[in-house]
Symmetry: C2
Subunit: 283 residues, 2 copies
């Protein structure tokens, strides 16, 4: 198959590695000619260009730009595509993207590979990034079934963990397990830094170990990514945040009331429930 | 030196391994005779007994029981000790312990090794558990300086990262970096489980990956330990929780107001501040 990739960063570049290994013809487009050159040198693509016209013969095009650039990119891409071409994307929020792109190109299948590393850019691209990780597809009622089938087949060749759902359900689910943790974790760092007793703050910094390290990790990540999540998934994220504050308030109240028995019941419940979130990864 | 250890669990047992390796004579006391037997078999102690009278000749005794048992244990131990014997403990909260124990035994030096694994009990004991980790000592004005010196020397032979502070400062610091994260993380799991749309909850459970895994880890830990933290460090923990809720509310408000610029500034700040918490571990 002739597969186009627009945006040759971590996700786009890693897609290129895997799809070439599966004997597809992979053509890449980046705004930067140096990125195109590095993509060819690293073997991420068969050919690359700063011009979207490179994708004239593409059967399927993966849009791997940042969220805000997805719809504008599709708009610029359309004049170059054959009418049967399928567009898919890798954006981490789906409702806003699908709402913007589906009216522009009928043959669009929203997608979200739940994979990544701490690095970004073409140099961060690696083979096998998607294997074992979830890949969500969010077709809507008007999405042509044969196009969904073709994207599904490509995606299944990258990872066995393919999930289908409505864009809205995707966004609610990732609000819980991806976007809410960022805000919860950032608030932890922010709160600690509010300690006005210099000696206590320094001691806290000296004593911090694995518990603080893990709980604060995603809150100390890329700020642009955090803002992107909030911006494009505002409604679901706020819904999760309000529910989170309610859970937090309950715990604060139990501690205030010295209701240790109910607190223990609640912590027993969270201990019991947590493994439910990781059973799919191990099955 | 003749060193006693009361409580042969993860911490007490691991102390035994390290102190014997440093050529101390190590005597252990546990309430359970099977634990005493296993401690001898594993080489954790030179001798062990269910009777505190084993520690008659001890120069230093480490109390390694759960927090609630520290003061009662000291009370039972006193009739068996020589007047010069030094008592120290390994409890994870210090103000309550020091307030209870210092009046009972003048020669008491509060301590807290910040080390552990997910396991507990004598079988979990390992050599070198303390190396590279912080060990806090919290002597007060009335603590005899020579006793502090002796405990410090023993502790420095286990880890180079020895810190001194007031019991109250210790408790405020660990509230930030150890106890608050547990409640923040447990609230995250609790909030996710409140999702009433079954399909969304199941999808969230299927899509959860490293971000959720890390942020939820300590909230899915031992419930008794979480209650212990809240119970014995109630004041400092509540102080941290109220400050945390304030930070969270600010982030919620920024997202509500779509103030993306201020949100990005805040997330840039948390990204910048987080490494401050881990510089000591690497120095």
């Amino acid at each position: 198959m002739n597969i186009g990739i627009v945006g040759l960063g971590l996700i786009g570049g890693s897609l290129g590695f895997d799809l070439r290994a599966l004997d597809h013809q992979v053509l890449g487009v980046s705004r930067h000619s140096e990125t195109c050159q590095r993509a060819i040198e690293r073997g991420v693509v068969d050919d690359a260009s700063i011009k979207l016209s490179l994708l004239t013969d593409a059967d399927v095009v993966f849009i791997c730009t940042p969220l805000a650039a997805i719809a504008p990119t599709v708009q610029q891409l359309i004049p170059h595509l054959s009418p049967d071409a399928i567009i898919t994307d890798v954006g981490s929020v789906k409702t806003a993207v699908v709402e913007q792109v589906a009216p522009l190109w009928h043959n669009f299948v929203g997608g979200h590979p739940m994979a990544g590393t701490a690095d970004s850019g073409i140099e961060a691209a690696v083979s096998g990034l998607f294997a074992g990780n979830p890949y969500v597809l969010t077709p809507i009622e008007t999405t042509p079934a044969p196009s969904v089938k073709i994207v599904e087949e490509i995606v299944r060749s990258l990872t066995k963990r393919v999930y289908f759902c409505r864009p809205e359900d995707h966004d609610r689910a990732v609000a819980w397990i991806s976007h809410l943790p960022v805000m919860v974790s950032a608030s932890l760092i922010d709160a600690c830094m509010s300690e006005t007793d210099r000696a206590v703050l320094e001691l806290a910094q000296q004593l911090a170990s694995s518990g603080f390290r893990d709980t604060s990790r995603v809150g100390g990540g890329n700020p642009e990514l955090g803002v992107m999540m909030a911006r494009y998934n505002q409604e679901s994220l706020l819904r999760s945040l309000v529910s989170y504050r309610h859970s937090l308030d309950q715990i604060i109240e139990l501690i205030k009331q010295k209701d240790w028995q109910t607190l223990e019941e609640k912590l027993t419940e969270t201990q019991l429930q947590r493994p439910q979130f990781f059973s799919a990864a191990n099955s």
